[in-house]
């Protein structure tokens, strides 16, 4: 596969999204499509469990779903001490969705692009988390929620006061505001970039391994895939955990 292409072309081809439109108003169809499919998969699985949820002996699917729900619920209860109907479902959605995004990384790098090629699609980037738009969509949504809850819990003036009068008191107001703005904006940026960076790098390494001679590929590909099982789960967990932490910070008065 690799020998037919120039190596650089191969890498660039694999990392180029299927794009329609121009400028800002363009869409990465592959990202949107796979995200939606994976989101649908997530909703379908949990919905089918929720419909047949029994308080008796749970089946295999329900056990799996309950394990995830309980895992998320424990994390939320450990960190977040308020009452909110949103945060737990939000955390579950983030964890599962990001996990599924990342899990696309485990598919062979050429599998879906080749199928797409046969179907007449020239560019296909299958891992939604290697698209900055996806990771930032999540982190910016979380960012909005942080603002929403900060203002809701502390009141508008309380929020303004926190932005301007901490950590150095009212006399250093501009400096405080600057610090706070950096702090607040650093949250979504670090969230989004962390996930993107990890998965982009991981995918890149898979692509590089795919460029090696076929005999060597399993030797490197297998350990990297095993290691990646950890990475995809860990990144999903980190994203969820930080979301919970940020939102619980937004709920606390200083």
């Amino acid at each position: 596969m690799a020998s037919e292409h120039n190596a650089t072309d191969y890498i660039i081809h694999h990392l180029t999204p299927l794009r329609v439109g121009e400028g800002f108003w363009s869409f990465h169809l592959d990202t949107l499509f796979f995200s939606a499919v994976l989101g649908g998969l997530f909703i379908w699985f949990f919905k089918s469990v929720a419909e047949r949820a029994t308080s008796g002996v749970p089946g295999l699917a329900q056990s799996l779903a309950e394990t995830l729900v309980e895992f998320v619920d424990t994390q939320v209860k450990d960190t977040f001490h308020g009452r909110s109907d949103l945060i737990s479902p939000l955390a579950l959605t983030i964890f599962c969705w990001v996990f599924l995004w990342n899990a696309m990384d485990m598919l062979p790098v050429d599998l879906l692009p080749d199928i797409g090629h046969v179907a007449g699609i020239d560019y296909l980037r299958v891992v939604p988390s290697t698209d900055l738009n996806s990771t930032f969509a999540l982190s910016i949504s979380v960012f909005f929620l942080i603002f929403f809850y900060s203002i809701k819990v502390k009141g508008f003036f309380g929020f303004v006061k926190e932005m301007t009068c901490t950590p150095f008191g009212p006399w250093l107001m501009p400096f405080n505001l600057m610090l706070k703005l950096v702090e607040e904006f650093a949250k979504p940026i670090s969230l989004g970039l962390r996930l993107f960076g990890n998965l982009y790098a991981g995918e890149l390494v898979f692509i590089l391994i795919a460029l090696l001679p076929p005999v060597v590929q399993p030797l490197l590909g297998f350990p990297w895939a095993v290691f990646h099982i950890l990475v995809i789960t860990l990144q999903a967990f980190i994203f969820m955990m930080l979301t919970i932490v940020y939102l619980s910070l937004a709920h606390e008065d200083h």
Binding site: I43, F46, K47, A53, V69, D85, L90, L92
Partner: protein
Amino acid sequence: MSINATLIGQMITFTLLVWLTMKYIWPPIIAAMEERRVKIADGLAAAERGQEEIKLAEKKAVGILREAREQATEIIGGAQKRANDLVEEAKLQAKSEGERLLAQAQAQAEQEFLQARDNLRKEVAALALLAAEQILKEEIDKAKHQTILNRAADQLG
């Protein structure tokens, strides 16, 4: 890497997913889990209660058993005594009945014996008289020997 409208699309999908999870997924699953938790807690409590009850029942059963054994012993004692009494009574009754029967039989035998002897004597006397008459028919002068004959008849009769 370009940020473009995909971001907005992804945010919409995300919002939709969170909303669906919040409305249709989280509550029923959590409710089922909570219900099971309550069920298990109830079950454990019931099991504990049951164990307590078993202990109580065991204690009660031991008491009842002891009481029953005592009663049984008492009944057996009474019955044995009663049986002994009955046997004694029967023995006495049998003995007296036997004695009575014996006495009756003896009296009857005696009577029959006396009657038989009486009859026999009469018959013998008649026979003797007949025989004596036959023998002495010719030689006896009835008038002369009347006294002797009467004496003999008296002795035999």
